[in-house]
């Protein structure tokens, strides 16, 4: 036993060092953002010195409060719409099967694979013709339609585990199907709802494409669009851009750290059972 233990302990140390090395690489973006944001543009170009200038001037360069508010409104409305249409549909496809429901469900699930870029032009022209690009309407509808297939898939997989007796009992008690869904099924589905909410929040909060094309007014811009447009223009000072990046990254990171297990559950849904 004695001689076996020694190389093992050494191995653990080697492992630990490798893991520290990987950690440094993975933390690199955060380090760059924080380090760079603590410089003025001059200090950044010179490569030395620190100041709070970029943070205090941030709101004059990027309407950061407005953009965070826009991101929040778009995120919340889209997720709400996804849940409103996704929960009943998931319930229907798993427990209230109707004619051709399996076929429709398969088509719905395949819609998960359609990238927005593939339909970008036609989608853009459609919502413009319907005059929906004025406020957040178009963006919310597009986000919701892109998020719905996955949420329907996830909910229906989850609801398959709900016993039929529970639903029948609810109907016998006179709840009606809507009552059964709202009072009996939704309370059981809270973990699945959390998974959809967390996944969609990170997806929508971090997205650029929809906000860029489906929100017309620059005053309604979400934070990612604000940052990307400034970055592509290449005229903004990089320290300010990094300060804005930190603010944009914080909410998603907090959600991420707090709800990690729901994310993992959602990602492996369908194979992890």
């Amino acid at each position: 036993m004695g001689p076996v233990k020694k190389p093992r302990r050494l191995g653990r140390w080697v492992l630990f060092v490798i893991m520290m090395f990987v950690a440094v690489i993975m933390l690199y973006p955060f380090w760059v953002m924080i380090y760079t944001s603590l410089k003025s543009e001059g200090q950044f170009l010179a490569g030395s010195g620190f100041s709070w200038v970029s943070w205090s001037s941030l709101s004059s360069v990027i309407p950061i409060g407005q953009e965070v508010l826009s991101s929040t409104i778009v995120c919340a409305s889209s997720i709400l719409l996804i849940l409103i249409v996704g929960l009943p549909a998931g319930f229907a496809f798993s427990k209230l099967r109707f004619r051709m429901s399996t076929g429709i469900f398969l088509v719905m699930v395949s819609a998960m694979m359609v990238p927005l870029q593939a339909i970008l032009m036609t989608e853009y022209v459609n919502v413009s013709r319907l005059h929906l690009t004025g406020g957040y309407t178009a963006a919310v509808l597009v986000y919701a339609s892109l998020g719905t297939p996955f949420s329907v898939f996830l909910f229906s997989t989850y609801f398959r585990g709900v016993p039929d007796e529970l639903i029948e009992a609810g109907i016998v008690d006179g709840l009606g199907y809507f009552g059964v869904l709202w009072r009996l099924v939704v309370p059981i589905a809270l973990p699945a709802i959390a998974t959809v909410t967390v996944l969609q929040f990170i997806q929508i909060w971090d997205d650029l494409l929809v906000g860029l094309f489906f929100i017309q007014n620059t005053s309604d811009r979400p934070i990612t669009v604000g940052l990307a447009v400034l970055a592509a223009g290449r005229t903004t000072s990089i320290p300010e851009l990094m300060a804005g990046s930190i603010i944009s990254a914080l909410p998603a990171m907090l959600v991420y750290v707090g709800f990690q297990r729901y994310l993992v559950k959602g990602l492996t849904m369908g194979i992890d059972r």
């Binding site: 933390l27 339909i119 970008l120 994310l263």
Partner: protein, 301 residues
Amino acid sequence: MATISVNAPKARRLTLKRRRQLAGVVFALPAIALVICFIGIPIGQDVYYSFTQWDGQTATWIGVSTWSQAFHNPNLWTALRNNGLLLLSVPFALGLPLCIAVLLHQRVAGWRIFRTIYFLPTAISWVVLGLVAERFFAYQGTLNSIIHALGFSHFSTNLLGYQSEALFALGITFIFTMIGTNTMLFLTGLATLDPSLEEAARIDGAGRWRIFRNITLPHLSRFIQLAFVMTVIALFSALFSLIFVMTGGGPGYATTTVEYLIYQTGFNQGDFGTAALYGLILFVITGIVGIVQLRLIGSNE
């Protein structure tokens, strides 16, 4: 309750069944309508408009000549080639996370903290990661600082500035952005592995590599397939933010992928018809990958 006549339950069950189906249709309808309006119809329109000259306002039918024009357009081939070359990053986008997941699974001191750190970049927008990557590869960026610190002071790179190298930098960034998600997938897979299997093999005298090859890897195959599909789909449809921020598709068309070409053709050149056609091509590519994915889900149920 027990005194109900023999016939009544049957009749009642029938109407119940019908009512249940009706409720099913009503419940599924909003989701179906949303997906048809915003995904289904636009795909159909893609097909129609791909045969037209279209500026977003008026469309003139010109038939298959849009198609032959598009396929004679070198930019499309450049974009397809760029996507093809980027596929070379997929083995790394899977292999590195696999190694990291296996390391994490050894549960050395502080592995939970390491896990959170490794996953953290996944929470950040690719817009932000693109900004950071642009800084990393820039002439006065971190990469050159590292090279100089290593003693090669006369050697400098400017990967994003050269046609032949910009795509390489984009590929490296793509690998980095995929590490968190794929590690998470593999770690989940490893957690479902029965440790007694490995233990038994170890007692039988199997070495680490053999245990990994014959027990761990086959167990992970389904997770690796899923990660592969997700990575390839991301490669074709999620690079927009990175490209928009890092290179704008350039220099020239060196980092223009098919998805970025759609944006350039439609919004920069106003050629909506050709852009719709490119969209259709992208749809077919992801569709093929999607069928693989459906097979994956289907084979499991």
